[in-house]
């Protein structure tokens, strides 16, 4: 019997790895095989085994006087690795009967079958699954758009429209947003005026701050800032509300009643978003301009001069463009928030994920739509 000696002792636990004459490898374990001894010795045992190549391994555990789950799990791992790496036959002796049970391969249930299928998937499988998921997402989005369009067309059937729900949402998305919109718009107007004051002064053109504030707030900053605020406040709220309803099976309840969740829940939110965003935008434009004008008055320009300057720069279609943008942004935010809410998966983390997704998607869509608007308006010479 040639000995591949690797014996160590810690807290009474010993192991040795021997090569028997038949070529079989014997791992003998003595003492307590528990979380403590396994954490100390597993590396040494694995190293010792890896150094030998073998077709057959016998683990002799009769000398083990204390077991716990960690010890049993460790033996299980050893066996699996030996089987996989060396295609070795592994025999374990001396495992107490109460632990033998835990050694048997788990009886297959549906859940585990699903889990192992996922585990077995390699890189290609991952790519494939991701692709399928994306295609499904696109399909779902198209179906949602269809449902939304159909729902909007039929929106004013009072029985399904539920005006009270609409006003509740309009209040929380629109009215309740006034303070934060005021603060941010005012500061933005103020900052733009301040930042541009010095460079424009170099050309003696400080009066043009009025043009800049007017056009910038009306065409860009007003709609964009309002929309981003709404995406953060309401897009996420829509996703979280609908997501929670999904997790609570409320959406299932609607479906089994034969009620389309889009008509029952989404339409009010989308219409509220489409009305609240332009109104908030007009308000934000006003407050932003107020901030800028205050700076100009501080710089010594009379209010009348500022008024005339701004009046000459801003045309009515600028305001219409700002408001139209805002309506589109409102649609994008509330529709994407609701869409992600309806797609919420199961479990407590899913609602959070949907809410986060709604904010990110909402802002992304706003910026893309804004770029498209800019390009179109440039081409149309507006």
């Amino acid at each position: 019997m040639s000995e591949e000696a690797l014996s160590r002792s810690s807290s009474g636990f010993r192991f040795e790895i021997l090569r028997e004459d038949s070529g079989r490898v014997l791992l003998r374990l003595v003492g307590p095989l528990d979380a403590k001894s396994v954490s100390r010795s597993w590396k040494a045992i694995r190293r010792g085994l890896r150094r030998l190549s073998f077709r057959s391994l016998r683990i002799e555990a009769a000398g083990v006087d204390r077991w716990d789950s960690a010890g049993v799990a460790f033996l299980q791992l050893l066996r699996r690795q030996a089987e996989e790496r060396f295609q070795a036959e592994v025999a374990i002796e001396g495992l107490p009967p109460e632990w033998v049970r835990t050694f048997e391969p788990p009886t297959s249930t549906a859940g585990e079958a699903a889990g192992s299928a996922e585990e077995a998937e390699g890189l290609i499988g991952t790519i494939g699954h991701t692709a399928i998921e994306e295609v499904t997402l696109a399909g779902d989005a198209v179906a949602f758009l269809g449902g939304l369009t159909r729902g909007l067309a039929a929106a004013f059937q009072p029985r399904i429209f539920r005006p009270r729900e609409f006003f509740r949402i309009f209040e929380s998305a629109g009215v309740d947003a006034l303070p934060i919109v005021s603060l941010i718009s005012f500061l933005i107007g103020l900052v733009i005026a301040f930042e541009s004051a010095r460079p424009l002064a170099a050309f003696g053109a400080q009066i043009f701050i009025a043009n800049m504030i007017g056009l910038l707030m009306i065409r860009e900053m007003g709609p964009i800032m309002t929309a981003i605020l709404l995406a953060g406040r309401s897009g996420s709220a829509f996703a979280a509300e609908l997501g929670t309803m999904k997790v609570n099976e409320e959406l299932d309840a609607l479906r089994t009643m034969g009620v389309d969740p889009i008509r029952f829940l989404v339409i009010q939110r989308v219409i509220a978003g489409m009305i609240a965003t332009p109104l908030l935008t007009i308000y934000s434009i006003f407050v932003g301009i107020l901030g800028g004008v205050l700076v100009m008055i501080g710089l010594g320009y009379p209010l009348e001069a500022v008024y005339h300057q701004m009046d000459s720069a801003v045309r009515i279609h600028d305001i219409l463009i700002g408001v139209a943008k805002a309506a589109v942004f409102g649609l994008l935010i509330s529709a994407s928030g609701c869409f992600l809410g309806l797609r919420t998966r199961q479990g407590p983390a899913a609602v959070g994920a949907s809410a986060t997704g709604a904010v990110v998607t909402g802002i992304l869509l706003i910026i893309i739509a804004d770029a498209v608007f800019s390009l179109l308006l440039y081409l149309l010479n507006l």
């Binding site: 699903a114 309803m245 609570n248 299932d252 309840a253 479906r255 089994t256």
Partner: protein
């Protein structure tokens, strides 16, 4: 019992599952009109999945589900909606709409599907709430209700359109024994008074022995039906070890005394 021989639900060779996972196979059984029918099985045996297939939330992978002789998945538009109105569902946690009062929750199906004046819809909602003993809580929000009250409100909502069938997902899960017994009595009374067919998914043996006329027991190993019949008869006469195991072990708390009887 008012059960007649006329089957109100028929499941034929259903293969149930979602995604790529098959949970149940070759499921066939029928439920008679007026019966209290229970789908039994341990955790993970697929009872809730089976229920979701029957009520049309998941499409069958194979086979068919007939409710009053009609296949939900073969119908579209108006016909489908009409069939959906023939049954109500009580979800495990009630699934009441959180932004509405209890009365409004019960009224939703009436709001959506009837052209009744509001006062009548309110009155119907109130009568349903009275039947489940919740009239006093009509103006409360779902968040103010206890678990048992939520379930009762959900049953009231499920019955709003006077359905022929009410499905119950784990009616006694999370309830104390007294509330659970109250709920059992309520179901029994509704089944007797209104000839409503109840189909429930459960693993509460106490309720099963108290109210179920017939049960099927699902086997997660074979993914098929293990046994079918009167639960008391199954308990006393079945020779299938898993059936005995299910009925006796889980029944220890309540059924010990009865088990000793021949």
């Amino acid at each position: 019992m008012t059960a007649s021989s006329d089957p109100i639900i028929e499941i034929r060779n259903l293969r149930a599952g979602y995604g790529e996972t098959v949970i149940l196979e070759e499921i066939s059984f029928s439920v008679k009109r007026g019966e209290i029918f229970a789908i039994l099985g341990g955790s993970g045996s697929g009872k809730s999945t089976l229920l979701k297939h029957i009520i049309g939330l998941y499409p069958p992978r194979a086979g068919e589900v007939l409710i009053e002789g009609k296949n939900l998945w073969a119908l579209e538009g108006r016909e489908r909606t009409e069939l959906l109105q023939r049954f109500g569902v009580m979800y495990q946690n009630g699934a009441l709409f959180g932004s509405m009062t209890v009365r409004e929750n019960v009224r939703v199906p009436l709001d959506v599907f009837t052209y009744l004046p509001l006062a009548v819809r309110d009155a119907v909602a109130e009568s349903k709430l009275a039947q489940v003993g919740l009239l006093a809580a009509a103006e409360k929000m779902p968040s103010e209700l206890s678990g048992g009250m939520r379930k009762r409100a959900a049953i009231a909502r499920a019955m709003a359109l006077d359905p022929a069938i009410v499905f119950l997902d784990e009616p006694s899960a999370g309830l104390d024994p007294v509330s659970s017994a109250d709920l059992d009595n309520l179901i029994k009374r509704l089944a007797n008074d209104f000839t409503i067919t109840f189909v429930m998914v459960t693993h509460e043996l106490e309720s099963i022995f108290a109210i179920a006329d017939r049960v099927i027991l699902l086997d997660p190993q074979t993914k098929r039906i293990l046994a079918e019949g009167d639960p008391r008869v199954l308990r006393d006469t079945s020779t299938i070890p898993l059936v005995q195991h299910f009925f006796r072990r889980e029944g220890q708390s309540s059924g010990k005394r009865e088990l000793r009887e021949p």
